[in-house]
Symmetry: C2
Subunit: 237 residues, 2 copies
Amino acid sequence: MSALDTALHGLRALIADGALRPGDRLPSEGELCETLGVSRGSLREAIRMLAALGVLETRHGSGSYVSELRAADLIGSLSLTVGLLPMAGVLELTELRRVLEPHAAALAAARIDAATIETLGGVLDEIEASDDFEDHSRLDHAFHMTISEVAGNDALTSLIDVLRSRSRAYRIPDADDAAELKLHSDAGHRAILRGLAAADPVAASAAASAHVAQTEYWVRRYTETDIVAEGSAVEPD
Amino acid sequence: MSALDTALHGLRALIADGALRPGDRLPSEGELCETLGVSRGSLREAIRMLAALGVLETRHGSGSYVSELRAADLIGSLSLTVGLLPMAGVLELTELRRVLEPHAAALAAARIDAATIETLGGVLDEIEASDDFEDHSRLDHAFHMTISEVAGNDALTSLIDVLRSRSRAYRIPDADDAAELKLHSDAGHRAILRGLAAADPVAASAAASAHVAQTEYWVRRYTETDIVAEGSAVEPD
DNA sequence: TGAAACATAGTTGTCATACGAATTTGATGA
DNA sequence: TCATCAAATTCGTATGACAACTATGTTTCA
């Protein structure tokens, strides 16, 4: 087994066995090197791998810590990479959205309160009033994330967020198409909100399903034509 | 921006911009160090992070390569970490299974062929004939993965695999409970297979839903009592 | 007494160098 | 043409050194 694997499995075992619990500080790199019998470089590579996966967090000058190990955080670690998927992969992910978003909408319909409904209505008002792509994208994200959060499962919210992050980054180049998309999008949002306001899981779910299907249609339509990626969709620290 | 971030974003940009495509070999570490202006150690840490996320693959003596960037592979990178989730997180994931597995079963019902139905029947025969926990776990896995694969979405299959990997690692300690679980589990499997064989998406979906709900019941039941984790559920290379 | 400033030790971040291990490549020879 | 071997290339690992940052205890001053 390579030194890197030794370090990786060693660290993982410390957490799996309960020797290190969420929030705990790891021994210093020097100590871990002795314990695991690897050089500092190999150890640091292993730490970085677990950090990339959301298991560890390192603070300069302080130490490395075990994360809270929330399912949502681990799923969120995918956000760095989904932006690199080719279009074929994006379509696969959209199919997952077709299942997950209706589910979230149905759950939300059963739990949402009047204040949140009002908030969501305000968001839709803003979307419909704005012509700016950035505003639209940001508010659309807020609308859907709020629904996921109301659904009450953080892992579900995180997963939907990750899956949505990609299609969000595309801008429809053709002005007429963009206008048509926005028209249908706005109508879809209103339908979802009606379902939520009526506390009707079936209606909310169906509306969410239709909304995703529409997204999928546009993604497919532009898959084989011009498409403009909005940067790398990941902001630097 | 730290040297590590420089390297990480630099590598990511090379892929996002299309300068490096799936399957391509990266420049040597020495070249990348010069290009990005960081030391070899920092560069290697960045490479490891992307490798942990399934974006890069490194071969000793040959070089580092961009992976095929399949959605299924990126999702599969979670398998290293879901084994570390506390029970609360496992329940969150089980709720996701409640949506995804019925969906997969419904899709599979519409696409499955006679040969696969026969194969699945054979797997169930084996399960029902075996008393060994290892056999049962392995065959159960094969049964459900086959269904996912028939569904035809690799990302969905990978996601279900990741989510299932955790509950699979638990063994019910009480013998009577274990026997009861197996009884219901076997019946659930047969119900799913009946739905598939009848090419009835609704029946298959409902049976899969019930099957996951049952798993969830047992996970909850044992959450606050004794539970035995079957190792770290990740086999070394 | 209280608080601000400082000094110190400990920890991670980064770099440079060296050499081992594995692969790839090209030359050599039958 | 093919097999074999040697060399070059590349990643894997270890070590040492120092900078950057944090945490903690101490001193100093109001």
